[in-house]
């Protein structure tokens, strides 16, 4: 193999685009938050101005997503390969896909009110990515030189994006059905109640979350199988209970539990919503704690 061309200055430009995107995400997040504060007001006149803020927020979100996408693509060009070979790249690509899926889903589904969550969470991911996970472009170690990198990781990113949106919907569901939210006399909770009142009704939230989760689960099953096929080539066995394999399995089992819960009397609604949240927490755990602190073969963060 001849050494690939690495372009360090191009990756610097990529980073600038990511910073630019973060800036616009911040403004977008602020307008969504402002929208929510206005919506939570008990005065009708204040509430009326909110939809304009939503439009501004969405326009900004689209702009940020474009900047973000350029940053991701430049990073790929700078490294002469797919931009998801280490934690930094996985984070920027993954969060880009979350926002893109969310923007597409906005057209078909009434899920606008989780926009504040999506933009805020995205900002958080990019913040951690650029400060904690950042590494310069580097050549691929031999273990990653495989087309399975393209398939396995891309599908994992997609699955994560679907689970992410579903988790946001489940969290909204949990708040909406919570007794303490319903009964509290606190002003703040009252404001929250007004916002929650604008969300789709409980049943709709539950069903929306379910639909994002089943797509996520199919993609996750594929990720697991593709990972095993790759492991058979790279690590000479298809399954060996490596820490990453263990957590992929745990997540798969939690979501399988979630699907069963949806068909089990007494487990639909709140319990299954909690399972979806637990599943997503396990995904975040798998990506952060397991990658950084657990010993295993799957250590491609690029961090020393």
């Amino acid at each position: 193999m001849t050494p690939v061309a690495l372009n360090d200055s191009l990756s610097q430009i990529s980073l600038l685009f990511i910073y630019g995107a973060m800036l616009v995400y911040t403004v977008s997040f602020l307008s969504f938050s402002w929208q929510l504060t206005r919506l939570s007001s008990d005065k009708k006149k204040i509430r009326a101005g909110a939809s304009q803020l939503e439009r501004v927020g969405i326009t900004l979100l689209i702009m940020a997503d474009v900047l973000h996408g350029v940053g991701v693509i430049l990073r790929g060009i700078a490294a002469s390969r797919v931009p998801w070979a280490n934690m930094y790249e996985f984070s920027i690509t993954g969060s880009f896909i979350v926002v893109t899926i969310f923007l597409i889903a906005l057209k078909i589904r009434d899920i606008r009110l989780i926009a504040a969550f999506v933009s805020g969470f995205n900002l958080l991911i990019l913040g951690v990515a650029t400060t904690v996970f950042y590494v310069r472009v580097a050549p691929l170690p031999p273990a990653l030189q495989s087309y399975w990198l393209v398939i396995h990781v891309l599908v994992a990113v997609l699955a994560t994006a679907f689970f992410n949106i579903a988790a946001a919907l489940s969290i909204a569901y949990i708040f909406k059905t919570a007794k303490w939210v319903e009964n509290s006399k606190l002003k703040l909770v009252g404001a929250m109640r007004r916002i929650l009142g604008l969300f789709p009704n409980e049943e709709k939230l539950e069903r929306l979350a379910y639909r994002f989760n089943i797509i996520g689960f199919i993609l996750w099953t594929f990720t697991l199988i593709a990972g095993a096929i790759w492991a058979e080539r790279a690590w000479h066995r298809y399954w060996g209970w490596d820490t990453k394999e263990v957590w992929t399995f745990i997540i798969w089992t939690i979501y399988a539990g979630y699907l069963h819960a949806n068909a089990t009397r007494g487990w639909t609604g709140k319990r299954s919503a909690w399972l979806a949240v637990v599943g997503f927490v396990a995904i975040l755990f798998n990506f952060t704690v397991v990658n950084l602190f657990f010993k295993g073969l799957h250590v491609y963060s690029g961090l020393k």
């Binding site: 170690p141 199919i218 089992t253 539990g257 068909a263 009397r265 007494g266």
Partner: protein
Amino acid sequence: MRCLVISNLQSNDEIISPALGVFGWARWIWRQLTSMRTALILLLMLAVAAVPGSIFPQRSADPNGVTQYFDANPTLAPILDSVQLFDVYSSSWFSAIYILLFISLIGCVLPRTAVHFDALRSAPPAAPRIFSRMPAHIEVASKRGKLVERATALLKKQGYRVVVDGDAVSAERGYLRETGNLVFHFSLIGVLLAVGIGGGMSYSGQRVLVEGETFVNNLAAYDSFAPGTFFKEAELVPFSMTLQKFKAEFDIRPTSKGMPLDFRAQVTTKLGVDGKEKSTVIRVNEPLEMPNAKVYLTGNGYAPVMTIRDADGNIVYSGATAFLPQSSTYTSLGVIKVPDTARQFGIIAFFYPTVDELTTGALTSLFPAPIDPMLTMNVYAGDLGLDGGVPRNVYALDTSNMTQVAGGKSGVKGLRLKLGESAELPNGLGTVSFDGLKRFASLDVDYNPGALWVLVFALLSLAGLTTSLLVPRRRVWVRKTETGFEVAALARGDDPILEKVVNEVATALTQKDKK
């Protein structure tokens, strides 16, 4: 809720109090075990039970980690070991959960399969009396005739199974959803069986091969070998493999200096004694496929070629010795044992491919490629401990019965050799020369006949899962009314477009035929 019931709408929660007698109890226990709730709880238990295996080192994946854990926690480790926390995935409690889960699964899908076979052959159920009770419903005023015929034709064209009952049409589609679900669950059983049986017949062997050496596939040729429970030696197909050359490429760009770019083991292979010789390359993601074996490249390093002569000039040791890399720049550690002399001695040697001296005087390697190689040696004289009949690790020197005669605190400086140099050994032990440098490849030879079946069942389960989650199963009814007709629909499982379907059917039935 029993697992047989697939749609929430159908589950008339008949709580059956346990019947009397032994048979009744057995039946009750079986029902509990095969209930969805039990399956759900077992699934969640399995998820929780898998966690400790990622926290504690596992013998299967990380045996060294277990040894280290025992050294670091001498009191705690045996306690953890007694509850199998170092063998989580073969432990009795982990096995118990998944075996129960699979019994539950079998007990669940077998009756479901029977029910589904019946459903496949029976007609869609009759139209409900009151359409407006259905989750999606519409009433339309229309004067067009032949409603029943047109509705039947329309729904048939859309893939529904249709029956006519007087003024009403009943239709059902999406049987594939349940078929997919059953395929999914049966395939999981397939995966489990293939994992178990394949694992039993598998083997995994390791061998370090220096350039120029030949490996012949038989038990004696392996450095270490782990057979499955049903492994038979006859599974090893005789072939030979010679490592002709090992090539390693490292990055020289300043930002990623020393990172590996490519490893290639160039080998020639021969089947049997007089097979045809073939040349191939083994790379990290590209194993070599031989009959009943796949050969993987799992590691590499340097093998300095040395010659040691005794005081009389007789050769007592010569050849290439594999040194184990200790760092990313390939500072490597090797052990040489010289038993066949008047006084046994051993050498602990370090190899630096691109040597550099730190300010402390210690040596280090700057780069993994051999730009300026150097070999250093500490020499120990005394009993090597080789005569006890206990197999010794070739990469370790037991110095408990030896005295250090060069290097360390021995008072004599350790030896330092550049390529092509030779030096005198202390205490009149003879001379040593550093004659050449070869590389070695660590190879893993693995065979698992179950792997292909695991893959087949895994892909089948993925296909079944996708079908069962994405194919909507629904019933649609159309009935003539006095002013026109009404349409109703009921989903079994999640169906995002139920209302749309009802509207579309209604629209299609009001439109004029296109002629």
